[in-house]
Amino acid sequence: MAELAAHAGEAHHPALQHHFVSLDQQRAASTLGMWVFIAQEILFFGGLFGAYTVYRTLYPDAFSAGSHHLSWKIGFFNTLVLIGSSLTMAMGVYSAAIGKSKAVVGFILATILLGGVFLGVKYFEYGEKIRPCLGDGPHTGCLVPGARFDAASLHLSGAEAGHVQIYFSLYFAMTGLHALHMIIGAPILLTIAYFAWRGRYSPEYHTPVELVGLYWHFVDIVWIFLFPLLYLIGHH
């Protein structure tokens, strides 16, 4: 329902766009928009998770073998980092809601920092698997699917060697897409921090902070599923 609560003060709020009746309506619309976007994201990752489910059902052993080649310690560390960034994000939104702009800036910068740590670790993890594939060498330990994939280092041969490539295809696609979401999120967070620093947000109007928070938490949730599904298959 269109909300007609046109508070005299809000009607002239500088952030109120012309086509909305009130700030309340504007906030409700923006929040709903973000949630619908997240619903879209769920189905976007859902296609990958669907493929993952099918192949894990078909090739449980290859998935287990592939998983044992990832370091659960690194995954564990990154999970903690990302959960931490979710906490700082939530605190950022909280600070905006109680009108502490300086704290908003601090918390968002902390979120970006933690996101950077996560991506740095990811870069290292990827490098380990990709580096052996480069150049003309024997490609020992190369874990990128394709002609150079080194199934021997996983002690696999025959069809299993193919199946484990599917595992690594999914690994790269899922974590890569997740990392891409973080890379997209970072500049948005930075923009929000800039506006917070300029004092644009107040307890009445801080919808952008809330929205980027929703996005960031969603990215965190994706990782919450990726960690056990990719790093912790079978018995470690």
Partner: protein, 100 residues
């Protein structure tokens, strides 16, 4: 939504719960419980995700429409996976030509 400001203590509590659950899921993965490993891994992940959605994302304090949006996306994801699997779980792999 911002009408309802949650105390920072709640956030901290949720964060600690998430850390604890992460430790649990790693600990369980270190032991062989057979089929049970996957159940725990998924159960813990779903619990963690629920905590994030309810508290960090304020779904607990949101209007009903938000709940509908979340639920419908999950339902359609479930449809995708469930109907996909109807084709996969009921057949041998690779497909066998011999019935007799």
């Amino acid at each position: 939504m911002s009408h309802h400001v949650v105390s920072w203590k709640v956030y901290l509590g949720v964060f600690l719960a998430l850390v604890a659950l992460t430790v649990i899921t790693v600990w369980v993965a270190g032991h062989d419980f057979g089929e049970f490993n996957l159940v725990v891994a998924l159960g813990v992940a779903i619990t963690k995700a629920t905590l994030v959605v309810l508290y960090f994302m304020h779904a607990r304090y949101s209007e009903r429409l938000t709940h509908v949006v979340i639920a419908s996306s999950l339902v359609f994801f479930a449809i995708l996976v469930f109907l996909l699997l109807t084709d996969y779980v009921s057949r041998p792999w690779p497909l066998s030509p011999v019935a007799s």
